[in-house]
Structure formats: C-alpha cells, structure tokens
C-alpha cells in the first residue's frame, strides 16, 4: 500500500521574495522501527520514489532529471514510541490496531519530489510549477485505476483547492501589479508581479482554511535547529508545544499568489505579442524575472498611476453594497419599437430587494437619506460611477443618461434583441444584475419545435386488465406536429413566422424569439414526414422522452399519466391488502409493489433500489403473491428465478416461508442439486427457484435453457463487471420479466449502473463503449451537468429508490425496525458442528452434576463459536475469511452498503476475539473507519472514541463493541444500524445494547439486524426468545445457566443440526 502525500512548503527565507515549492512524498507501511537519525521509517526513499513516479504515476522524465528534483524535507508528525504514526489512509491497510495517542510532534526527514517541469520561455528553459494538472492525474489514478495507491487527505485537500483556484485563471480575475519596497536611505525598489482581484477567491480562501488539515502546514525545508530552539542536533526531542506550524490562510495565500505569478510568467509568447507589450508595465510583469526590481523614477511614477487605477478597480467591485440592475420591459405589440431598459439598484446581500432609480429620484430628501442609509454612503456617487462602468460595457446606455435623473433607456426592437442576445450577458458577467422578460427566461421561453403526438397503442391502452400483458410489444404510436411552446401551430402560421422580418415576434399574445433557420428545417421535415404514423416501443419512447430537445413529445392521457407516475412514484396507488400474505406491508411497500406490477405490465424492467432495511425482499414476495392472486390460478405461472449472494440464499428461503408459506420454493444449490431434465420437470412444480450467483455461472446452460417468469437479482451490484463470466451467464437467461434489487446508490457508480441496466433493458443505455463516451467520461471527469441530467432522466423512470430520510418513509416506519438475518452454515462449519454435537451426545449420558453442567455450558459456547466462524472455534490462527462463514460475508456486504449510503453502524458480539477479528477485517478488507470498545478499554480512550465517532465531521464509521463493555451507559446515536453478530439469551440485554443508538438524540429510524444461523441452536435460541417475549415473564435469568436444567433429550434437541437447512 502506498499513500501519496504532498503539500506546499515555503522557503525559510525572510527576504522580500519568499519562494516555495510543492512537494510530493509517498508513505509506505512501517516495517522496521526508526533508527535514531530521524529518517521517516515508512516512506519511499529517493530511488524508490523515482521509480514510483515513472512507473505508477507515469511522469515522462528521465531518471536523472527526476533524481535532481528529489530532496529531503521535514515534517512534524505525531510520534509515539519514537515512531511516526501512519496516516489514516495507511492505517486502514495495516494489521495493527489504530494508535490514537501520541507522545508529541517530532520532525521526520522524508524524501520529497519537487513538482516542477522545465518549460521553454523565449529561448531559455526555466522551471515551472506543475501542480494543477498533476494533481488531477494523480486523483484520477487513485480513484479509478489502482487499488494499492491511495490519495492522502493532504493531497486530496490540495486537489480540491487547486480546482477552485483555477477559476481565478479561467475568469481572468487577476491584474498586472507592482509592489513598492522601501529600502534604506529613502531609496526604493519596485517589483512587478500579478495580483488576484476576486471576491470568489476571497470567500474560497475562508472556506478552504477550514478544510485544511494540519499535515498541510507541517512541512519545512530545513532540518537542524530553528524550530523554537530545539531540533535534530540536540538530544531533546521537540515537544509539541515547541513545534511550529504555518498559519493556514497565509500559506494558502502564498501558494495562490506564487502559483499565479509562476503560471503567468511561464506563459509562452510570440514575437508579435512581445512587441504588443514591449516597454510597458505589462511587459515588466510578464517577464518579471528579467526586470525586477525596477528602480527608476519613471517606475515610481508608473507605480503611482497603477496604484490609483487599482484602487478604482477594488473600490467599485468591493465597496458598494448594491448592484446596478437593468430590467428589459417588452414593447406593446402595437408599438413594436418601444422597449425600455429600466435602471435599478439591487441589494447585494438580498438581491430581491430592488429599487427602481425612477422611484428614487422622485423621493423626498428624507426618503433619499433613508435609501443612502441602506445602500451605503456615497449612494449617488456609486450609482453614477457604476452606471458609467456599465455604459463602458454597453455604450448605448449613455443615451439613457442624458438627463439629470437617469432611470431608463429606450430601445428599438432590433436593439432589444441585441441586448437580449449579447449585452445582457456582458453586463451580467461584469457583475450587473440583468432581468429579462419572463418569455425570454429558460423556463418561460417558447420555442419552435416538432412535437411527437404520442398515443399508447396496445391490447388495452388506458386500462390494464389482469391477464393481458403489454409485454415487449407494447407500442407507442405517434405523429408529427409543428408546435410553438405547448401549442400546435398550422403550417400557414409557421410559414408566416419563418418569413417574419424581425427576430422577435409577438405571437398569440406573447413575444418570442425566432430561429428562422431551424424553423425552416422543421418545416421541411414536416412537409416530408407529416403524414407518417410511425411506431416505437415503450423503451424507445422513454429514451426519446429523456433525450429529445428539439423534439417534444406530447402524450395522450394514458402516456402522460404513465410518465407522471414514473417520475413521481408517490403517485402510485398502494396495492390493496393481499389475502395470502402472512404479514403487513407498510404504505411505501404497497406503493413499491404497485410500481413493480405496473412496470411489468408495460413490459418494462426496473431496479428496486430502496435503502437497506426498507424491506426490498418483502416487496418482491408480495409481488409473487399478487401475481398469483391476480391470475386466479386459471393458468399456472412459470417459476421465478431468484439469484442472490450465497450468504442470503437461506434468508430468502426463510422469509418466503414466513410471509408466503403457500409458495413452493426450491433451493438450487450444493453438490446434490438437480440437473438436466429432472431439474426442468421439477422446476415447473415450484413457484420460486433460489440460487446463488456462483451456481448461476456454473449452471449457465441449465438455467438459460428454461423460460422463467421472472429473473430477480438480489444485490444486483454483483453483476457490475460486464466482462465477468457470472455477468455474461446471467445475461443469457430467458425471462418474461427482469428485476434488479440493490441497496447501494448505483446512480453514483456509472458503470455499475450501466451493467445493471444492460441486464434489465439491453441497449437502453447504449453499448458499453458508447456509454463511456457519452456519459461516464463527461460526467465523472469533466463534471458535465447536461449529461448527468440526461442520464438521470433516462434511468429515473425505471429506478425506485426510497431513502430512510424521506419524510414519508420516516412517518411510515416505526422508530426502531427489527429484522432477522438468516444465514446458512458453510460446509466446514457444518462438519465442525456435527462433530461437536456427536461428541457431546456420547459424553452427556455418562456424567452428572457439576461436570454435566460444565459440559453443557462448554458445548453451547463451542457451537456458538462455530456459527460465528470456524477460526474462532479452532483457535488455530487460521484466516478469518468470509468464505468460511456466511454470517461474516453477509455482515461484510451489509457494512459496505450502509457505509456507501453514508450511515454509521454498531456491531455487538459477546466474544472479544470475534470483536477483534471483525474490526481487523472491516478495517483492512473494507477500509472503513472503525472503533472497538471492550472491557479493557481505558476510560479516557473510550471517551475519545465515542466523541470522535459522534462528531458530524467524522466520516461514516463502524463501532464494534463487546456486549458486556458496550452494553450500557454510552451514547452512539450517530449510528442508525445495529448488528447483533451472535445472540444472547436474554432479549433485555440485547435491547439494552441496541439502545446505545436508539436513544434520545437519535433523529433517524434505527435498524436492528440480528443474525440467526439456520438449522442450528441459534435458530432455536431465537424462537425461545420470541416465545419468552410472548410469555413476557422472566422464566430464565440473564445468562445461560438455566439451560443446564434441561434434560438430556431436550438438550440434544436444542443443539441438533437440522440437516435439511444445510445449503451445501
């Protein structure tokens, strides 16, 4: 694992010009402790760093050049036991537990790469800072390409900051500048440079100072003494109170100013341009290194002139508390050349606070004074100055100021059009407020377009009956219409408009802009296609609706109600209660089922992407029941194939058995699973066939040789890799309907999204390469808003995603939702379990009293350990892999999902060794931020962990607690998921633990997940707890001792393994 760090280090110089450089370094795991020389023991040293830069980062420079750019720098790092602590990015990949305490800050020597490149300026080469582009590349590299390169949060900060800083360059928010330096004996020097003039830059600085971590200001170029008197030379390790960091804002300013100067002065020029600036202040600034410092009296004169000029720039952009605004008022249709641009002032802080100048001039002196109070001193001066500046941008404005009381400018239609097209934007960019008539705003603009008048065509268009499916052949028929805004226009009217003499016309009571070329094209199109009545499929229809711009689609009643429902799913009527469902659906779940059946009836395939814990599987089960109730048993439906991760296969089986016991379920898994014709014949007798992704790949031929009623993919992100054999196998399945379930927010991972849609509706989002080009790269690399809106429009109708924070969901859910998670034993676990059971069965007959009691308690312990993980039982140091325990793999999947949703969670276990193993696993394999609290945790550390976990600025994290240590007293309300990895006999103890999250201060619904291993004593304990709850009396104590009272038979029954529940 390599973590790339870096920051800006100013040179120690106290001279007038303080330079600086950006340095990168790479952190590696610390293998051997530091020797006494204070060289950081976990970083890439010079040669390694050079190789890394060439091979991994892909810097195209020679070895020699790069070597020259590497030098040692010093960082004050938190240090414990004479070793620098690893960064959090590194810690997540380390075996050891996090170190939260440190003794002090200490300076560590690190080999750093100075990020410069040699560029040609004029005839000479000179070093320029390479940071913006480089960070962009490294960021992309760490994010999308390699898994063992991570971006340190210091570098991530700089990536964000440089992106924001780019605006200064892109918007030309800087000016040539001179700085005056007083020298001895009233002599002076003047330095040419560049200065940033931007309100946005100033506010960004304030914002980013808050984000900036201390590591960014802890670097320095000088070893040895000089840090508050202590340093490397001495034997005394500097205490943290002696360490000095740079002040954040001044460092950011220094970086920004230096970078701007560096960028501008390294800009390539031409002979012609050199001549253009020759012998001027701009020339001194552009070639600053050549001219600095300037010492002549002429320069002083120029400095004075420049200062006055600069002062005027800053005065008008910063001083006034209002903006001048211009509002265009349309002409009356009878006097088409009588347009008005009204002058007004708008408060900067509250732009809705506007005052027309005409109104101001007619005010009484007293009222005028009040206005001045509101808009600042020198109100009239500022108004006149700013009007003057505006007129410089748009000279026509002078005409409106040929009066004592300027309040408006009258313009002709052509001039109004020019204003709308160009001057308005110029004025707006220059900081003036421009208000255009509503008919010209994006929302109010009527455009000429071709409209597709679409109507649903199918077996039954406006009502969907019980039996008839639209299926794939659901068609939409359409015809072309010429339209303006939302009104149809006759070809005659259209032609009149095309032939209009003016660019703005008053048409049907409103002004509008004409694009005659486009209208001519539309007219020609309409003339040749107007009579056709083409058809398209429902999917094509959705595609068109999402992507068309010039083509507007008008819907008939059915289609428009369809579109409005698909875009706002709360419009779905909840289904009525299902007679055969053994349980109750919540309102949103009923609406979910309604959405599912609606889509299926249209022949569309959707993705149910509700947040974890909202009951996706129950909605699927309800759909299965509903489908059968609707078909009235008149004809038997084909079975639904349900593909899920192995760890949830058992859970599906249990859930169907619980909620729909009448559905016949076959689990297609394990070595003895049916094959060939037997499978096919047998299948027809079942309602649901459940299998795992692995088996779906292995039995590709068998499963694709069958026509399914429906294929349901649980945890559909499992097919995110289009090239994987598993994905390919699943794409080959034949089914009437397809349904994907996922709880991870797929819309943020575009290729995953594509892959899931490729399963649901092949071709809908285009081919993979096409999709990359038209969506993934524009959205993820270039942040294209247009593309992401289009994509959203495309997928939205087919995704149902409800999140826990939706108010309708919050109201619909109880504050605490409890859920059992059923998992199976793996083969390894099952054989261990059986061996223990067999051993006990033999022994128990022959012992009595204390010995018997001891045996029973020990057995219970062993079996619980096996259910948790074989490694816990074996205590042989074997690997804690999820493949060996479905319980563990399920937990891991759910942790990932919850973290991806931005939620924090608690995990309880009664075994400290499991807690330890879980923390390690979650940290290292899932790279989550974790905390672990057990009986041995000191009070101080405990308080610190809790505070950190609860801090809203901490990322979503996992808190693992031993049931005994973490069960009482503490508040962890940031978590809204609680997992009970193993079970305790007393529900009160579990509830008490759950209440760490579910208590005062909790604003979200809390989801409690309790693991139960199918067919083992855990399942029996679970049912006993349920019974006990019903009895509501404490028959038993809070521990397991009462179980020793059971007779031998009862005990054997309790622990017996139900083999029918085995998966393999």
């Amino acid at each position: 694992m390599k973590v790339i760090h870096g920051t800006w280090i100013p040179d120690a110089s106290t001279e007038f010009i303080q330079t600086g450089s950006f340095y990168l370094w790479v952190e590696t795991p610390i293998e051997t402790k530091a020797k006494t020389n204070n060289i950081h023991p976990g970083h890439l040293s010079k040669d390694e760093l050079v190789n890394f830069l060439i091979q991994d980062v892909g810097i195209k420079e020679t070895l020699t050049t790069l070597s020259q750019r590497i030098s040692p720098k010093y960082f004050a790092l938190p240090t414990a036991e004479n070793t620098p602590l690893p960064s959090p990015e590194m810690t997540r990949y380390l075996e050891e537990a996090d170190i939260l305490e440190y003794d002090s800050f200490q300076y560590w020597q690190v080999d750093c790469y100075k990020t410069i490149v040699s560029v040609k300026v004029g005839a000479k080469y000179s070093d320029a800072i390479n940071i913006g582009q480089l960070l962009n590349e490294i960021h992309f590299l760490a994010l999308y390409n390699t898994s063992d390169i991570q971006l340190g949060s210091d570098l991530l900060f700089w990536y964000h900051y440089t992106q924001a800083f780019k605006q200064v360059i892109l918007k030309d928010h800087y000016i040539p500048a001179l700085k005056y330096r007083q020298r001895a004996k009233s002599t002076f020097e003047i330095y040419a440079t560049w200065e940033i003039i931007s309100e946005e830059y100033e506010s960004n600085l304030k914002r980013y100072v808050e984000y900036m971590p201390l590591i960014c200001v802890s670097g320095t170029g000088f070893g040895g003494t000089g840090f508050g008197g202590t340093g490397f030379g001495g034997t005394e390790v500097p205490h943290y109170e002696d360490v000095h960091f740079f002040e954040r804002e001044s460092l950011l300013r220094h970086f920004s100013e230096y970078l701007l100067h560096d960028i501008v002065t390294h800009t390539p020029s031409t002979v012609a341009f050199d001549k253009q600036i020759d012998d001027s202040l701009v020339n001194y600034c552009f070639y600053a290194h050549k001219y600095n410092p300037l010492k002549s009296d002429v320069s002083l004169e120029e400095f004075k002139q420049w200062s006055a000029w600069r002062q005027k720039i800053t005065r008008t952009s910063h001083d006034a508390s209002f903006n001048i605004g211009f509002q265009l008022h349309s002409a009356h249709p009878d006097t088409i050349d009588d347009w008005h641009i009204q002058f007004l002032v708008a408060d900067k802080k509250d732009p809705s606070l506007k005052l027309a100048l005409s109104e101001y001039w007619s005010m009484s002196p007293k009222d005028k004074t009040n206005v001045s109070k509101k808009f600042g001193e020198n109100f009239e001066t500022n108004v006149l100055l700013n009007l003057g500046y505006a007129a410089r941008m748009y000279p026509k404005l002078w005409q409106g100021m040929e009066t004592e009381y300027p309040c408006e400018l009258r313009v002709s239609l052509e001039e109004a059009f020019d204003f709308l097209k160009e001057s308005a934007w110029v004025l707006e960019d220059a900081g003036f407020k421009v208000i255009v008539p509503a008919w010209y705003t994006p929302a109010g603009r009527r455009r000429a377009k071709i409209r597709l008048k679409a109507s649903s065509k199918g077996k039954s268009a406006s009502k969907v009956d019980n039996k008839g499916y639209f299926s794939y052949d659901s068609l939409v028929q359409y015809e072309y219409q010429l339209a303006i805004g939302d009104q149809q226009v006759t070809p005659q009217e259209w032609e009149q408009l095309v032939n209009a003499k003016t660019p703005l016309v008053h048409f049907r009571g409103q002004w509008m802009e004409l694009d005659r070329d486009k209208m001519q094209q539309f007219l020609e199109f309409w003339q040749s296609h107007g009579d056709e009545k083409p058809e398209m499929t429902m999917l094509e229809f959705l595609q068109r609706t999402a992507q068309e711009d010039d083509w507007e689609v008008e819907h008939d009643e059915f289609l428009s109600s369809m579109m409005s429902k698909l875009h706002d799913k709360s419009k779905f009527e909840p289904i009525s209660d299902l007679a055969q469902l053994q349980g109750t659906l919540r309102e949103y779940q009923k609406r979910g089922v309604s959405w599912l059946s609606y889509l299926e009836n249209l022949g569309l395939n959707g993705c149910l992407a509700d947040d974890m814990g909202l009951g996706k599987s129950l909605q699927v089960i309800a759909r299965l029941i509903q489908e059968r109730e609707n078909s009235n048993g008149s004809k038997s439906l084909l079975p639904t194939l349900l593909i899920a991760p192995t760890s949830v296969v058992g859970n599906w089986q249990r859930e169907i058995a619980k909620f729909a016991p009448h559905l016949k379920v076959m689990v297609h898994h394990g070595a003895s699973r049916n094959q060939n014709e037997v499978f096919k014949t047998l299948c027809l007798e079942y309602d649901v066939v459940i299998t795992s992704f692995t088996v779906a790949r292995k039995d590709e031929k068998l499963l694709s040789g069958f026509e399914w009623q429906r294929v349901v993919l649980d945890e559909a992100q499992n097919i995110k890799n289009p090239k994987a054999a598993q994905t390919k196998a699943i794409l080959k399945l034949h089914a009437k309907h397809r349904l994907a379930l996922t709880g991870t927010p797929v819309e943020n991972r575009l290729l995953d999204l594509w892959s899931i849609f490729n399963f649901l509706n092949p071709g809908y989002l285009g081919k993979e390469a096409q999709f990359r080009k038209s969506f993934e790269i524009p959205i993820q690399k270039d942040n294209s808003k247009v593309k992401s809106t289009t994509l959203k429009k495309l997928v939205e109708p087919l995704i149902l995603r409800r999140v826990k924070t939706d108010t309708s969901i919050i109201n619909d859910l109880p504050d605490k939702v409890e859920q059992k998670l059923y998992t199976n034993l793996t083969k390894e676990q099952a054989s261990l379990y059986e061996a223990v059971v067999k051993d006990v069965e033999d022994k128990i007959e022959n012992i009595e009293g204390i010995e018997r009691k001891g045996l029973i308690l020990a057995t219970l312990m062993k079996l619980k350990q096996i259910c948790n993980h074989p490694a816990q039982f074996l205590q042989d140091g074997s690997e804690f892999l999820p493949e060996r325990s479905h319980k563990l793999s399920r937990l891991a999947e759910m942790v990932e999902e919850a973290i991806a949703e931005g939620e924090s969670l608690l995990i309880f276990s009664q075994f400290t060794d499991i807690c330890e193993a879980l923390e390690k696993r979650i940290k290292q394999a899932l790279h989550c931020n974790t905390y672990y609290l057990h009986g041995g945790t000191g009070r101080q550390r405990r308080e610190k962990m809790i505070a950190e976990f609860q801090d809203p600025e901490t990322e979503p994290s996992v808190f693992i607690l031993s049931l005994k240590a973490g069960g009482v007293g503490i508040t962890l309300t940031k978590a809204n998921h609680v997992f009970h990895y193993d079970r305790w006999w007393n529900p009160a103890v579990e509830d008490q633990a759950t209440d760490r999250a579910f208590r005062i201060g909790q604003k979200k619904n809390v989801f409690v997940h309790k693991f139960v291993v199918i067919g083992t004593l855990e399942e029996k304990i679970d049912s006993m707890i349920e019974d006990k709850k019903k009895l509501s009396s404490a028959v038993v104590g809070s521990d397991e001792s009462w179980l020793t009272e059971l007779d031998n038979e009862a005990f054997k029954q309790l622990i017996a393994l139900n083999k029918s529940a085995l998966l393999e």
């Binding site: 210091d154 984000y211 201390l214 220094h254 390539p268 006055a308 410089r392 002078w398």
Partner: protein, 278 residues
C-alpha cells in the same frame, strides 16, 4: 512616445493647432516635444508659459544655445457664461458620470455650442501665442512643441480643458456643488493625497503558528472539517478581461498606442492556453 494623444479630446485639441500651422513646423515641433527640448512649462488658468531650448545656428549668428520664452493663451470663456455651462453639464448624468470616469463625453461640445461656446479650441481665433525666437512665423516650432506636451497632459486630466478656458478647478467645484448631480462630481474631484503604500513582501508572508491544543491524530491528518464529496465547477465567464475592462482602455500607466484592453485579452487567452499547466 509616437503619438501625443490617444483620447478623442486630446486629438481634437491637436487638430485645432494643426489646422492652421504648416506641416514642416509641426514635424519639428513634435521632435521638440519628444526630444526633451522643452525645459519647463506651467499652466496658470488659460495661460501656458514655457521655456524651450533653441538650437545653435551660426548662419543666423546664434553660437550659444538660446532659451526662448513662450506663452500660449487660450481665449477664456467669460466667468458669467460658466454658470450656464456648469448648469447645463450638471443636468446630464451621462456627462457627470463620464467626467467621474476621467473621460470627456463625445457630445460635450453640443452642450457648449448650445450656448454659443466651445470647450475645445477650434480655430486660430482661440489662441494668442508668442515666442521670443527669431522665426517670424507664428506659431513656430517651439510653440508647437509646447502645445503637443499640453495635449498629452489632457489625456490624463480632462479637467485641464476647463482650466485652459479660464475656469480653475476650485471654481469648477464650487459651481458644480450648486446642483445635486454636480455635487457628486465636485466631491469626487477632491484630491486625495497619494500615499505610497510599501509592501513588506512580494507574496503574502507565511506566518508561523504554534498550536495550543494537541490535536487528535485524525484531526492532524484529516482536518477538522470534511471536504465536500463533489467539486462544484462553475462555468467560466463568456466575456474576457472583465476586471480591467470596467476601468476603460489606456489606463495612465499604459503609454503605448495599441489598446491595453486588447493586449490584456490576448494575455489572458495565452495564460489559459493548453500548453499551460493549470
């Protein structure tokens, strides 16, 4: 300096002289002005006085470099008429606003001619010139040289025009102050003393800061506040060089004949260029 004026009013001021002076003298006058031959000149109300170095010319018996005294007087506008002028000016926001921007509005002469007056000189009737040189022609090259220098001052100080027509700055301010709109300009004309602001460093000095409280390990590396999940990139502006454009072209420190704004637009474009590592 190849041109003596880059503003329309400066150019018009020069045109007036050029209209009645022969081109040879003008040519020599220009080289007098740019060659540093004008030793000193002073403007006192409508009267310009100057000392110009003449040339040694044995043919005319001039063996020692002579110094010639020159006066140029521009016909003043009568004090009483100024009241009307200022009243007229003060009734137009466009004029006041442009004067505040240190510019002379193109249509200012309309205001003057309305009253039968001129602000800018337009014929030889507007001048009374004298030079102590032996050249019999008037205006001679010495007069022309001084005149060009005055013209170049007008670019930066358009209010000099009023002074040359006999209205001092103080008087102008007093008259302006009588109307509400004029008052705004009058206050703007108050000279603010220029104070040289010395900088302690070229770039902001990086300060050092001791920390009082030992931060947690996480805070040290990750900061106290989490970075936003996405980067919001705003569209760049469609109009270039906005910051400098508002101040108009040819700022006082720009002595070249080509446009400062256009030059800066070109520079900004180059900086944004692909070759640059931003």
């Amino acid at each position: 300096m190849s041109k003596f004026s880059r503003t329309w009013w400066g150019t018009r001021f020069i045109d007036a002289l050029e209209s009645f002076t022969d081109s040879g003298r003008l040519q020599r006058g220009r080289s007098y002005a740019s060659g540093g031959k004008v030793k000193s000149f002073e403007i006192d109300s409508n009267k310009i006085t100057a000392k110009v170095r003449g040339s040694v010319n044995p043919y005319f018996g001039v063996y020692k470099e002579p110094t010639y005294n020159i006066t140029i007087e521009i016909t003043p506008i009568a004090k009483a008429r100024w009241n009307d002028v200022v009243k007229e000016i003060s009734s137009k926001a466009s004029i006041i606003s442009r004067l505040m921007l240190n510019e002379v509005p193109e249509n200012i002469e309309d205001t003057f001619s309305h009253l039968g007056l001129h602000l800018l000189p337009c014929s030889n009737k507007d001048f009374k010139t004298r030079c102590s040189c032996p050249d019999s022609a008037n205006p001679c090259k010495h007069i022309a040289g001084v005149y060009y220098l005055v013209a170049s001052q007008l670019d930066e100080n358009p209010f000099l025009l009023f002074e040359l027509r006999g209205l001092s700055k103080t008087e102008l301010q007093q008259k302006l102050a009588k109307t509400p709109l004029g008052k705004v300009l009058s206050e703007e004309l108050n000279v603010k003393d220029f104070v040289v602001e010395a900088s302690a460093s070229l770039y902001t000095k990086v300060e050092k800061k001791a920390i009082n409280e030992k931060p947690s390990v996480r805070e040290f590396w990750l900061g106290a506040k989490r970075l936003p999940q996405t980067i919001d990139i705003k569209a760049s502006s469609s109009v270039s060089a906005i910051v400098i454009k508002k101040q108009g072209d040819f700022p006082p420190f720009w002595h070249k004949d080509n446009s400062f704004v256009e030059t800066m637009e070109e520079l900004y474009k180059r900086v944004k260029g692909k070759q640059n590592l931003i």
